[in-house]
Amino acid sequence: MLKRLILLLVPMLSLLSASVVNYLEHSPAANALSGITLLSDSVADYSLSPTIGHTGISTFYHRPFNMSEIAVVGFATAAARNRFILAGGSTYLHHSDYSWHNPFLSAAYHYYGIALGISGHMVYDSVKDVDSEYDFSYDLAARYSHKDYGAELKFLRVGSSDEQLTISMKAALSEGVYTATSYVYESGGKDYFRAGIQTDINQYLSVYGSWQNEPNRFGLGAKLGIEPWSLIYSLRTHPQLDLSHAIALQRNW
């Protein structure tokens, strides 16, 4: 029923962009980690934080709530220059009656464990290519990492109705097992918690897991990598809807 409801709402209200920033978590790593970018090493996640700190190229496919009518594809690249990392990419959501496009450009300054970054976003959504809307916003982020610990403060989509403040902390529970918790506050007054974990099973296989409340969702993912290439697959639950699937191919440099 809810699935039908979403399909009805999609062309009317562009729910995928207007509801919550959760729907911006399209990349497999963000899908698996519930958007906790402090644990992510995916280039595609520059759309959620300019301080990811990794360079490369990533392309992904995302199927929200296993709805075959909707396809989300994304592409991102990031390159380093001195202490700066420049990144750019876009995410495109296609439905026969609705499209949504979010290109972004970001820049971050890295100085040892400290990173400061900014991203600019343009969001375009269109119903049946007839009615459309543009929205511009920007992200600000600061990150500190030292050995097994880290912290991140993000203001996402500043200037839009999807503004979000996120505070995250990271610590290694034991060697090679990284965990993080996040507190997220949205402009409408809604807030929730997230927790995530990331660990390397061996040099080829890594796994991600996460949980968030409000709504209660779990994320799970795996990365199969033969340096510098990696393939990431993830899924994420929803209390009422089907699983969301995402898969990405990435090359780091």
């Binding site: 690249t77 290109p103 290519d129 440099w253």
Partner: protein, 466 residues
């Protein structure tokens, strides 16, 4: 870009000739397989003193061609272009008056004979042309003379002759030109005359970093164009002023005013460039245009631009912002209706080297026009990864554009120098090229992912011999 649309095919042709400049024999051929397939070829042959230039384009089984036989810079037979002064009567000149190579084969240009002789400090320039041009007719009268060769039932015979004399000394030159143009049909517009006679006087002063240039062209009334440019290593500026009185644009004259095609207007333009350091260039440009004698038009039409360019071996980035009065573009947009008249454009690009041979490219354009309808904004986004090594190049990318009801023009490497985008769509692109000592082959495959899902293929080949 719409303001100089008619010049883009000419510029793309000039780019081809520039690439062929150092070769004695050069051939460029291209074939496009898409909705409107076409083929294009351009040939240059050069011996010690003689040169031959030929261009052809076949589209919709309709061939168009031009050819020029040339002896040094003195004689040209066939299709040619002539530059003179600030372009009030002929093509705009950047240095001395000259006979240029032919233009794009789809563009009308003088056909006949042109002579330029330089005895001592003097230059004698003479040309004569007769062209059968397509024309839109109404009751036997010319309503429109397209600059591009098109399939229109009507036609008119155009005759152009002119003769000029130039005196050049150190840093100074002055010249005078008589120009005659006639058509075998009258114009429906009472302001346009089938017989046009005009006299132009121009002068230029070069003094180190400065260049002053002025042209006065007299038809029924005098129109003038003035410019002052100053070039220093890190700073340059250019000021231009044009005042067009009762002015009928001659057949091959450069568009005198940028912001308007009508006469009885004046235009002032200023451009400054500053390089704070070697890799960074800042440019600001402002152009204003106003009709004189029209009490209903209170404000000047204006276009203002600000641009930043950064370039070093690792990165190339640019950002430009343009603000212009919407009325300036109304001639290009039939959907335009009364509204708040400002129009904004943002262009940005970033090219970053990742490895020795690999670059990542991103380009973005956004335009906004203040009007009441919903679809008043449009965007274009392109990303690609480029690989270049030992003459081999490979590029893989995509572009997405959203522009519901506005024809968005994007500069392009294609035949006309631009492409027109409408409707929301996305496109995947694969380009591969290989260059060797005497040539280059290039293949561009594009697949539209929405709307009509058009597949297009452009194959081109250049062969050059010294």
């Amino acid at each position: 870009m719409e303001l100089s649309l008619e010049e883009l095919p000419e510029q793309s042709t000039q780019t081809l000739y520039d690439r062929q400049a150092i070769y004695s024999t050069a051939l460029y051929g291209a074939a496009s397989f898409a909705d409107s397939p076409y083929s294009r070829a351009q040939l240059k042959l050069k011996s010690a003193a003689f040169q031959a230039f030929a261009g052809t384009k076949v589209e919709d089984q309709r061939p168009q061609a031009n050819i020029q036989l040339r002896y040094r810079d003195h004689f040209a037979l066939g299709s040619y272009r002539v530059t003179w002064g600030k372009g009030l009567l002929l093509n705009r000149s950047t240095t001395h008056p000259a006979i240029l190579y032919p233009s794009h084969p789809s563009t009308y240009e003088p056909q006949g004979l042109a002579i330029s002789l330089k005895p001592g400090a003097w230059q004698i320039l003479t040309f004569a042309s007769q062209v059968e041009r397509a024309a839109k007719l109404s009751e036997g009268l010319i309503t429109q003379l397209p600059r591009s060769k098109t399939d229109i039932l009507g036609s008119t015979r155009e005759r152009v002759v002119g003769s000029g004399l130039v005196y050049t000394s150190d840093g100074f030159e002055i010249g005078s030109l008589y120009y005659h143009q006639s058509y075998d049909r009258a114009f429906s517009d009472a302001k346009s005359d089938s017989l046009l006679e005009a006299v132009s006087i121009y002068g230029a002063v070069n003094s180190g970093a400065h260049r002053l240039m002025a042209e006065c062209a007299v038809q029924d009334q005098a129109s003038i164009a003035l410019s002052w440019s100053m070039i220093h290593p890190r700073f340059s500026q250019e000021w231009q002023y044009q005042r067009l009185a009762d002015y009928q644009r001659p057949a091959y004259a450069t568009k005198a005013n940028l912001l308007s095609s009508t006469d009885n207007r004046e235009e002032l333009s200023a451009r400054i460039r500053y390089m704070p350091f070697k890799a960074l260039r800042i440019q600001a440009q402002s152009t204003i245009n106003k009709g004189f004698g029209d009490l209903n038009e209170v404000n000047w039409l204006a276009r203002h631009q600000l641009g930043l360019n950064f370039s070093d071996p690792l990165s190339k980035a640019s950002l430009s912002l343009t603000v212009l009065d919407r009325e300036i573009l109304s001639a290009f947009d039939d959907n335009y209706s009364s509204s708040i008249p400002l129009h904004y454009r943002v262009n940005a690009s970033l090219r970053q080297r990742i490895f020795e041979d690999i670059w990542m490219d991103t380009a973005f354009r956004f335009h906004h026009q203040e009007r009441q309808l919903a679809l008043s904004r449009g965007s274009w986004w392109k990303q690609s990864i480029d690989y270049h090594r030992d003459g081999f190049g490979l590029s893989l990318g995509y572009s997405v554009w959203n522009s519901g009801n506005y024809r968005m023009l994007i500069l392009d490497d294609g035949d006309t120098g631009y492409r027109s985008l409408g409707k929301n769509s996305a496109q995947a692109m694969l380009m591969t090229e290989y260059g060797w000592k005497t040539g280059r082959a290039k293949l561009v495959l594009e697949q539209e992912l929405k709307q009509d899902r058009v597949t297009s293929l452009l194959a081109s080949l250049s062969l050059n011999l010294k």
